[in-house]
């Protein structure tokens, strides 16, 4: 399976807008949303059936049995995460608890146990020949590379014989991004011509090239700052990173998304531009021998 990952570094650059257009244009039969903190792709890919749901367990969390608790305060004194409060009964704040087990270790009466905690939900939509894998982290559960890995695994096992897949990646440069990157054939970075967008793009390019993944860049809303657009293009040329094209700012794009459509479902400037970016990206992805993948 050839996997194309779409990343942005910074949020809000139009990653999902472009991913949804790509899914439409390629008629992809397998796609995934790895932005498990704030998944959005499902809003635009339109599912007609209900997904198969599965709980995702993160780190276990401590629980105090108040019947057994003798209120000695050992757990509270030793917790490095200020997760135990003693207003009346001793209690664990599940949002602050990191599941380290120190409280369980120090409790003299075995009143504390670590219990598995649901940290999110995996969703799998199968419709006809299409497979869509996504997930939603629970509030306060924090970013998790492991859930990202699960989303990709779920897609792959449900669509084992599919040749091509599109993955909407996570924002940032942290562990979920690294988990999104593992095993993909190519990364398309959606950059925005702003000062902060450029610094984030540089960081994400560094990470992607470290992984030896074929990397290309397209610039979204390029006309909002021509100077920075040129800066991005020069930077990419200097680094030997292929440019897939420019997409203009387009208020019609917002209208399309708000109607639950992709930007290639309507006639608009950004839709026309994304078609060019798409065909260039496909050419690079399927180019023989260009991949560094092991």
């Amino acid at each position: 399976m050839k996997q194309l990952l779409i990343l942005s570094g910074k949020g809000g650059t139009g990653k999902t807008t472009i991913a949804s257009a790509f899914i439409k244009l390629s008629k992809a039969r397998a796609y995934a949303d790895c932005d498990v903190d704030a998944p959005n792709l499902h809003l635009i890919t339109k599912q007609n059936s209900l997904p198969k749901k599965r709980d995702y367990y993160g780190l276990p969390k401590a629980e105090i049995d108040t019947e057994l608790c003798i209120e000695c305060g050992q757990c509270r004194q030793n917790c490095r995460f200020d997760a135990i409060s003693a207003d009346g009964k001793y209690k664990v704040d599940p949002f602050a608890c990191e599941g380290c087990g120190v409280c369980e270790l120090v409790c003299p009466v075995e009143a504390v146990t670590l219990k598995p905690a649901v940290a999110g939900e995996l969703l799998l939509y199968t419709e006809g020949e299409k497979v869509f894998s996504t997930a939603q982290l629970k509030m306060g559960s924090g970013t998790s590379g492991m859930l990202v890995t699960e989303v990709k695994k779920q897609m792959k096992s449900a669509a084992a014989d599919v040749e091509f897949a599109i993955i909407d990646g996570s924002p940032g440069i942290g562990c979920p991004v690294i988990a999104s990157l593992s095993g993909v054939d190519m990364v398309l970075i959606v950059a925005e011509p702003s000062i902060s967008g450029i610094s984030d793009m540089e960081r994400i390019i560094n990470t992607a090239t470290k992984f030896g993944v074929k990397t290309a860049v397209c610039i979204n809303k390029f006309d909002t700052n021509m100077q920075n657009t040129e800066k991005i293009e020069n930077f990419c040329k200097g680094q030997g990173i292929s440019l897939m094209g420019r997409i203009p700012f387009d208020s019609d794009a917002v209208k399309a998304i708000n109607n639950g459509q992709t930007i290639v479902d309507i006639v608009c400037a950004s839709g026309a531009a994304v078609k060019v970016v798409f065909s260039k990206t496909m050419e690079l992805l399927f180019e023989e021998g260009g991949g560094l993948r092991s």
Binding site: G58, L59, E98, G99, G142, S144, G145, M146, T149, C175
Partner: protein
Amino acid sequence: MKIAIPVNEKSLESNVCVSFGRTPYFLIYDTDTQKSVFLDNSAAASTGGAGIKAAQMIADNKVNILLTPRLGENAADVLKSAEIEIYKTTTASAKDNIDVFIAGKLPLLNEIHAGFHGHGGK
């Protein structure tokens, strides 16, 4: 000599698992006795540091050689300290890789990827 391979199923014919730390099982093949043993990988369920825990288990089982498609840097550190040699798998099934290895035709694993830092909490 003991060879370890991450495998998807408890069978010599099983495919090699793409993840070292989170493989469901390890096949331990003893070239002297030609016997194979399958270990459940208790590290697979860890939210973080799975590679380290899996590597510790491999080392504790007195393995000399590891055949794997890929490996994270922390796991590699543990295995190197344990003086375990690491080779890169080239075909799908575990058995074929053992044969190719014994024939001296498996390459050493050179590229070690950065850890996924799949720690759950934060």
